[in-house]
Every structure is written in C-alpha cells, then in structure tokens.
C-alpha cells in the first residue's frame, strides 16, 4: 500500500467520522445501544440471578442488537452519496474506489467500536462483584467487534445497491438475519427433521452464531476469525463491484 493510498483512506475515514458526530444519528445510536445492552443484560439476561462472574448475559444479545443497530449505522454509507450526488465528486477525485470503500468502512467500524467501548461500566461491575475471567471478557469483546464489522460490511454493500436508505436498511437486516438464523439452535433443530446432518453442518457454518460462540468461550479460533474476516472482505469486495457497475 503506497503512502497516497493511506492518506486517501485516512482523509475519507476522518471526514466520515466527523460527519457521524455532526449528525444526531451518532448520539441516538450510542444512547439506544447503551440502554438496550443494559436492559438486556440486567433484566432479560438475569445478570444478577445467574450468580456467575461472567458477561455471558451481556454478549448473548449482541448478534440480535446489532441486527437492527448496525444496518442503521451502515445504511447511509453509500446511499447518501448516491442520493446527494457526491458519489460523482468522490469517484472523480484521484482516489481508487477501494480506498473510498475501506475508508468509509473503517470510519463506521470505529464508530461502532466507540459504542462498544462505552459499555465498560459492565466490565467494572462484574469485576467489582466477583472475579471473572478477564481473558474471556476480552475475547468476547473481540468477537463482538468482528461481528459488528461483518454486519457493517453487509450494510455497506446493501447501501451501495440503492439510493434509498430504508431499502438499504431492510436488505441489510434480512441478510444479517439469515446469517444468524442459519446457526440458531431453534432453526437447526427444526432442520434436523428432514435434512441430513452434513447439510445442517454446512448451513450452520455460515452462521455468525456458531463463530460468535467460540469467542464467548474465551477461545480465539483461527477458523472463527477467518470466518468474520472473510465475510467482511467478501462484502467489501462485492461493494467495489457494485460501485464499479452502478455508477449513475
């Protein structure tokens, strides 16, 4: 990667980040994300009643929370550029399309990371109340971060497909929901009635749940890591194709 590419990615990521915090979306997202994680962890997840010093009841909800919140963050990435016509400006600058895609992705991923970082009180709480495995908590956060990145890249892809943010949002939710359900126990249990185990294994391998669980157990399995990175990489690559082929 040459220095000019890095400079371009940096410039685009910086602009995108500033624009997040310039709009109410950022604050609405952060507040709702924190409220919901708190609510699910302590009320629905029975954090106290469990009587164990772990953040299992916190992380379990992340795939579901992200399902709605991450597409809301990613939906504007490209559809807004398309709607306002700034995509024409951006792509006639001496910038490669992949630099723009990557820069925008990094900015919104960074934004999600901020949201995740702001959940630190829950870590303090569990450490104050008991003696949790902080390594496991760390890998839990790591898994959550990669999960957010994978969802985000999908939201970016659907956003590149349309100038309508609502359409981008719904498409992203549907795709992400598929990625959850493919390995969600109630769904795989239902499938066992008529599909053979090999098929179910294959379908479940596409699910974020299977791979997310690994991280929650405190294990950084290279297969899980590879899964999230390849989903993200594939979606970013597909975004580049969409942008190349649907410019006007």
């Amino acid at each position: 990667m040459n220095p000019q590419s890095l400079a371009n990615i940096w410039a685009i990521a910086k602009r995108e980040t500033v624009s997040y915090f310039g709009s109410p979306v950022a604050y609405v997202f952060l507040v709702i994300f924190l409220l919901l994680t708190g609510f699910f962890t302590f009320t629905v997840g029975n954090f106290f009643e469990r009587g164990e010093a772990s953040l299992a009841s916190f992380f379990t909800w992340h795939p579901w929370l992200y399902l709605v919140l991450v597409p809301a963050v990613g939906m504007r990435l490209w559809s807004e550029e398309r709607r306002s016509g700034t995509i024409e400006l951006l792509l006639t600058m001496p910038v490669n399309a992949w630099e723009a895609i990557f820069g925008k992705f990094l900015a919104s991923w960074f934004f999600l990371a901020i949201g995740l970082a702001l959940t630190f009180p829950v870590v303090l709480t569990v450490n104050w109340l008991g003696d949790p495995d902080n390594g496991q908590i760390f890998t839990g956060y790591l898994g959550s971060f990669f999960l957010a990145g994978a969802y985000l890249s999908i939201a970016g892809l659907t956003s590149a497909l349309t100038r309508n943010q609502v359409v981008a949002f719904i498409l992203a939710v549907v795709v992400c929901l598929f990625l959850i359900l493919a390995g969600f126990n109630p769904v795989t249990d239902m499938l066992t009635r008529w599909a053979n185990p090999a098929v179910i294994e294959t379908v479940a391998a596409f699910s974020v749940m299977t791979h997310f669980d690994g991280f929650q157990k405190g294990v950084i399995d290279s297969r899980d890591l590879l899964f999230f990175l390849s989903v993200t990489g594939f979606a970013l690559f597909a975004t580049a194709l969409v942008i190349r082929n649907r410019r006007s």
Binding site: R15, S84, E88, L89, P94
Partner: protein, 317 residues
Amino acid sequence: MIRIENLTKTFGRNTVVDNLSFNVERGEVLGFLGPNGAGKSTTMRMITGFLPPTFGRVSVGGHYVVSEPLAAKRLIGYLPESAASYGDMTVNGFLSFVAELRGISGDARRRAVNRVVDLCFLENVLYQSIDTLSKGYRHRTCLAQALIHDPEVLIMDEPTDGLDPNQKHEVRNLIREMGKTKAVIFSTHILEEVDAACTRAIIIDRGRIVANGTPGELKAMSEAAGAVTLAARGVDAALVANKLGELPDVARCEAIPAAGPDAVRAYPRDKTAAPLLARAVIEMAERENWRIEQLRTEEGQLDEVFRKLTLPDTVKK
C-alpha cells in the same frame, strides 16, 4: 490536452452518446451545447472517469482515463451537474477535505483553500455548513472545489446554472480567465455564454456532434447571417422591399417588424458576398433618397442555428 476518440455510451438499447470525436487544447474554452438529454453530462462523466465508455476512449494530458484513471483525474477539475457537496461540512472543511484528496498538505493546503475562496467569493461563508447556504454559494463552493489544485483541465457541467446575473457574469469572466492557460470544457443551455466565454463551441444532438466551430462560424450558419437590415424613415417597408429585391445580389426581401416599423431585411444570394450587398443597399438608398435610420449586416443568431440543428426532423419547417 483532451482527446476524445469515437466515444460512445449506451444504456441498454439507448445510445446516449454516439461516436463523438474531438480535441481540446490548452488555451481553448469549449462550449458544449445541446438540448436536454443530448448526452452532454454523460460525455463529461466519461471524460472525468465517472462512467466507463461503452466504446471509444478519452485521454487527458496523454493519460487514458480508463487505463490510467488516477493520472488523468489528477489533471482534471470537475464541477458536476448537481454541484453536489457534503452538506454537513463547513465550506472550509469541505475544501480542505478535497485538497487532502488532491494530495495537497500542510501550508500548501491552507494557501490553496485561501486562493479558491478568494476566486469564488466565499470569505463570508467559510465557516458555515454547506446545507445552510443559498444555491449560489453552494454552487460556488463546488466550483471552488474544482479549482483547488489549479488543474490543467477544467470540466464544468452547467457552471452558471442557478446563479444570479451578477454571479453568472463573474463565473463567465472566471472561465475566460482560466481558458487562457487551461483546457476548459463547459456545458450550458444559455447561448449568450458561448459568445461571452467560448473560443469554440460544439452542438450535440441525440449524442452526435451536429456543429463544431468558433462562435462566429456557428452564427454564420444561421439563415440571417450576411443579410442586410435597413430601416428608412418615412418610406413604406413594402416599397423598400420591392426596390431592394431588384438588386442582383439579393435573393429575397422581407419586412422585419421586430427590428422596427420600417425595417426590411435583404438576404444575399451568396453569403460570401455580404459586404458587397451592404454597399449595394447603401447606393440604392442614396439613389432613392431614403433617409437611413438603421443599417446593419446581420451576424446571425446562435439560437436560430441551435434550433435548426437540434429540433427533431418532424418539427423542422
């Protein structure tokens, strides 16, 4: 500087740009005319590398836009049709961002921003967010963005659209000034701009070039070009028309009420003989003792040429 060879763009079955070829050199300002939907914006989008051509190629400063996009794009400043910019940014922030993408850093960036802010009269709104600006300011902000790296090639899609008459005047002056050292292409529907700013104009219709020449050459294609209009006080227009019609060089005469109650226009048989025609008309007036109030040789009207070339065949007279 800009070479366009057999440029073609089709969307589905629709051919929007059909085999265009032309060059623009440094020091030229090319006016790009044509009715709505003629393919002006599509052509500009292919020159700037936003749309890939279906066929043909464009090179800018010796770099083919498709195979060396970055090298070509570095030379180009582009004002898109919508004059889009990031509405949530301030004018200063937006221009700095563009300068950054153009590879201008540090002190040079500040100087570049200041330069275009002066050129486009943006001092008053430098720290306002672009969303809150009037259309004229937003337009000029986008124009400033196109000029920030002092490009050798300037492509502008309707640069005066939505500006008030004073701003239009300023922008035309700016274009003319830029044209001295750069290769400039701009599109417009406003035919006066061709006279005001262009060294050459191309009229395109349904994707094809229908005329290419200096503003003078285009005007000479008009029917009225080379005709002599005469108004003589107190002499009946019909009589004047009759008399003028007797001249050997005159093809036909007609009264032109729009030019004055007594105005008569004599069309030459041969456009190249226009100066002789004026002399013959004057001699005739002297012989007949007409008191000449008005006498001029017509240059031709661009709008007439434009209409003649771009109206669909069925509407043509």
